[in-house]
Structure formats: structure tokens, C-alpha cells
Amino acid sequence: MTVSWTQRSVDADGVDVRIREAGEGPALAILHSAGGPERPSAATDLLAARLRVVGLELPGLGASPREDRAQACARLAATMAAAATAAGLEAYALLGASTGALVATHMALAHPERVQALVLDAPAAPGDDEALRARLPELDLPTMIVIGTRDEPAASEAGREHKRRIARSDLVYVYDAGRSIAGDRPEAYAELVADFVVRREGHVVDRRSRVINP
């Protein structure tokens, strides 16, 4: 499967944010993690086959100009929300990995009318940001927390803490995946995320048929 990704930049509060997009359907905005923006991968290609995927590169990372904003998740969230709007997204599901999950959480809190579903991929421990931690119970949107079973025990602990504090959340363990769930189990990751974006809480209901032969 070949997916063609287009790249461009948008202006967000005077910051140049690079975006990469592909696919059609329900919109999914992905914040690239603090570990560095990911190139389109098997997982993002699979997502783009079912969704309109817009990858937003966090300023201060990768090829973006270094910005002080990367230090402050809340301010970064405002920039990324502006970037999503500038990219033409109105209502969308939002996915953030690692520190990007904290930025995504800030965006969901600040813009409940725009962020309609939230995917936290191996989120950093909420304790890293006390103010954010205290506000997690305010989140009132379908949220999926995804953790790899081979990741450090601290990853499960962070996932659990999010699960306890966000009423409408599911905690998903992806077997045999480490820190990079999308890299280790791309098909499982893409199916989980795409089903969740399309079906929200309803994704727990299995639609696979068990018929062997009619």
C-alpha cells in the first residue's frame, strides 16, 4: 500500500508549524513526540487508509526552529491548537505520544468543542505536570490510553493513573510492544486507533465475524 503524504507549513501564533497529511475520512491530528518527529511509518500509512491524518510537528523539535515554547506544555498546546485550525481542522480526534500526550491533554482541556476524542500513546506520568494532573478529571471525552507490555513498569503506572483520573477512558495494553507501540505492532496500533476514532466508546464491541463458512 502506498500512501502519498503532502507536506506544508502553517502559521500558528506567528510560529511556523510543519504539517504532513494524507487520507480521507474522520480527522485525526497526531502530535509528534518529544523524541523527534516520526517519518510516515507503516502505522501512519495504515491510519491514513481509513482516516484523514494530519501530523503536526511540535515546534522546537526536528527541523522546526527551536522555540522556548517547547518548555511549557500549556503554551505549546495553544500553538498546536492554532496550527490544527490553520491546517483546516475544525473537530478532530487527537493523538499524542509520550510528552506529546501531555500537550494533547492540555489541548483537549482548552478546546473541548474541537477535540472530540483523545488517544494518549505511552503518556508521560501526569505527576510530571502537577497542574495538569489536577485537571484530568475535568476531561469529558472518549479517551484511549495505549501502553506496550514490554515498556518500563513506569509506563503502566502512568497509564493506570490516567485511567483512574479520566472517567471516560480505556486502558489498552498492546502485547509485545515496547515504548514505540506504532513501530513494534503497527497493524494492531492502527486498527486500535482507527476503530476508536470512528466508533469512540463503541469500539469495545467486537464486530469480527466468527463464521468459518456459511
Partner: protein
């Protein structure tokens, strides 16, 4: 040393067929009910003698070992005997729902007040046919099922499991096990890979006489090395060895009656009827040729063989203690009901063992060799 008794109900009649599967047309309801009752006569006797564990196994479509769901027999044992450890030497993980295993084991542990020893096995090759398990995937399924069960017993929040072989949108097991963090687990050590798996994961190692003494001793070494690398030192009582015994007042008498009742013959009941032998061999070759079969038993003792431990009480006790040290096991899982012996003869052998051999074994401590 701890001593366990395996007394799976065994349906045997001179007209019962051999091989696998045995056709259900042989089933006689009266004899079936009697077989169940007889197994509990054996457990009653073993319990009265003070065996440390009572054990059950999982096998399918096989009258000689009736125990398709060992959890059911284990629940009956738990209710009947209030003070003994209950060892389930199933469950065969690749062929059952692992969440169900987590739930049933936790239930057994809770209703027995924390007396469960939970087995986790990969099963005999023929049994992959029973529930349609692909033998090529059995090892990978076992690994994933094991990890899922551990997560189901330790994760405080409800979770979704997104595996390769299993997907459960909601996992939130009640009851949880009473023994924390989890009950003792026995895993099969039929290959160096599985022995190392048991060592890495702090599990007990389960061995059987079918592998042979030398191979068992090697597997124990692999297990102990893997455990050491994982930062713990198992004792002999972390290793379980399954064997058969036949005891009589004298060695001569034991030999004579063992031969008479063909106590050592393990092959007879497994041998397919002649008309199906070729088909059976082809199926077993297909399973053995797959990348992840359980290691094939090196040699199944046939007609004319003797059980592992036979003789007078003195002879049997000495042989067991010597072999326990050689292999490095501290839990002996015994079976007395042979497929062939009359019930009364098997009970007499068990009673002699219980009176004269069992106390000596329980008083012994098995020293472990230094690892090279």
C-alpha cells in the same frame, strides 16, 4: 521433600479401546460413575496418609485419564479436603481461553483459602487436535496467554488486551487469587526453552519420567541457570517430578505383581488400533514437524517395562531419594493407579507407600548440587 498424589479418574474396562481418540460408544454409565468414585477413594486414602498435595491433570478424549477440565475435579478436591494443597497440572494454555483460566484458578484459590498450585502447560501433541489449536502457533500462544494471565492477576484497573492471538476489550477479573502476588505456578520444562522460561519467570519447573532421568537433570540445570540470571535461587522444592510407583512387602513380590498387572506399560493405552496406526503416525509427524511442538517424549515405556519406582518400601524410598538428588527435584508427583491394575491391588500398593515410604520422604531434605 513434598509428595503429591495424582489420581485422575481413570475409566478402564477390558473393552475400552486404546489409542486416541477413544470412541465414546465404549462409555458405560455405571462404570463411568464408578470410575469417578474410585478416584476419590484414592484421594481419600492419600489425604488420610498425609500427602502434601493432591493433583489433577488435563487430558482430552482419553478414558484412562478423565479430566478434560481439571478445574472441576480440583474444586471437588478443595471442598472435600480442607487442609491440603491442590495442584492443577493442566491448564493447557494454547487450547483454552486464558481469561477463563485466570478466573477459574483465582476462584479455586479463593474457595480453597489459598491452597492452589496453578499449572500452566502446552499440552500433548494429539490434544492440539481436540480444540483445533495450530501446533505451529502453540508456543507463541502459550507465551502470550501466560503474560495475559499474569496481567489479569496484577493489574488494578480494568484493561483492554490487544495481543497477537487474543483480544479482550475488557479484562477485570473477580475473584482475584487469595495468594499474593499470585499462587505458585508450575510450568512444563519439556524443552530447554521452556525450562529457561520457567526460571526467568520465577515459576516451578514441572518434569515427567517420560523425559528420562539424565534429560531431567539437564533441564533442572537450565532452569537454575535461567533463575540465577533473573536474580533468584530455586530450591529443590521448586522442581516437580512426575513418576509412577509400585510397592509390595518385598522386591520379589513387587516385581511379580508389577509384571502381572503390566504396571509399567504406558504405551498400551496410547497405541492406536492397527487400522489407524498409519494415519496416527502421519498426524504425529505433521505435528512434530512444526516449529513449536512440545518436545516429543523420548521413549514411552511399553509392555514389559517397570514403573520408575518399584520394590519393597525400603528399596522404593532409597531409589526416590537417590534420584531426587540426581535430578534435583523436591516435589514428587506420584501416581499409583495404573491403567491395568485391579483397583484393590493399586490401593494396597498406595497404602504401603503411605505407611512406610511417605514419612521418610517428607522428613528428607534434598540437597542441590552447586551449579558449575
Amino acid at each position: 521433600m513434598k509428595v503429591s498424589l495424582l489420581a485422575n479418574p481413570s475409566y478402564v474396562d477390558k473393552d475400552t479401546g486404546s489409542g486416541w481418540p477413544v470412541p465414546p460408544r465404549s462409555w458405560d454409565p455405571a462404570l463411568g460413575a464408578e470410575s469417578m468414585a474410585r478416584a476419590f477413594e484414592v484421594y481419600d486414602a492419600a489425604h488420610a496418609m498425609g500427602f502434601d498435595w493432591l493433583a489433577v491433570t488435563e487430558h482430552h478424549y482419553f478414558p484412562h485419564l478423565l479430566g478434560p477440565n481439571p478445574m472441576l475435579t480440583a474444586a471437588a478436591i478443595a471442598a472435600r479436603y480442607p487442609d491440603v494443597r491442590i495442584a492443577v497440572l493442566g491448564a493447557v494454555l494454547p487450547q483454552v481461553n486464558p481469561i477463563r483460566v485466570a478466573e477459574e484458578y483465582a476462584t479455586l484459590d479463593a474457595l480453597s483459602g489459598g491452597r492452589l498450585v496453578a499449572g500452566m502447560f502446552r499440552g500433548l501433541p494429539n490434544e492440539y487436535l481436540a480444540y483445533g489449536t495450530n501446533p505451529r502457533e502453540a508456543r507463541a500462544m502459550f507465551d502470550e496467554a501466560f503474560e495475559l494471565i499474569m496481567r489479569a492477576w496484577s493489574e488494578p484497573e480494568p484493561f483492554w488486551w490487544e495481543g497477537r492471538y487474543y483480544r479482550y476489550p475488557v479484562v477485570s477479573v473477580w475473584p482475584q487469587p487469595v495468594q499474593r502476588p499470585r499462587p505458585p505456578i508450575v510450568a512444563s520444562g519439556s524443552s530447554p526453552e521452556s525450562a529457561a522460561f520457567a526460571g526467568r519467570n520465577r515459576l516451578m519447573l514441572g518434569l515427567t519420567f517420560l523425559f528420562g532421568v539424565e534429560r531431567c537433570a539437564q533441564l533442572v540445570e537450565v532452569y537454575r541457570r535461567a533463575a540465577r540470571e533473573a536474580g533468584w535461587e530455586p530450591t529443590a522444592e521448586d522442581v516437580l517430578y512426575r513418576a509412577r510407583a509400585w510397592v509390595a512387602p518385598t522386591d520379589e513380590e513387587a516385581q511379580r505383581t508389577a509384571r502381572l498387572h503390566e504396571i509399567g506399560d504406558f504405551q498400551g493405552p496410547l497405541a492406536p488400533p492397527p487400522a489407524r496406526a498409519a494415519a496416527h503416525a502421519r498426524i504425529m509427524a505433521e505435528i512434530a514437524g512444526s516449529p513449536s511442538p512440545p518436545a516429543p517424549p523420548p521413549k514411552v515405556p511399553g509392555k514389559g517395562s517397570m514403573p520408575e519406582y518399584w520394590g519393597s518400601p525400603d528399596t522404593v524410598a532409597e531409589r526416590i531419594l537417590a534420584e531426587a538428588e540426581r535430578i534435583g527435584y523436591g516435589v514428587l508427583d506420584m501416581s499409583f493407579d495404573s491403567f491395568h491394575a485391579p483397583h484393590d491391588a493399586a490401593m494396597a500398593s498406595l497404602e504401603l507407600f503411605g505407611r512406610e515410604v511417605l514419612p521418610r520422604l517428607q522428613a528428607a531434605e534434598v540437597p542441590l548440587r552447586e551449579l558449575a
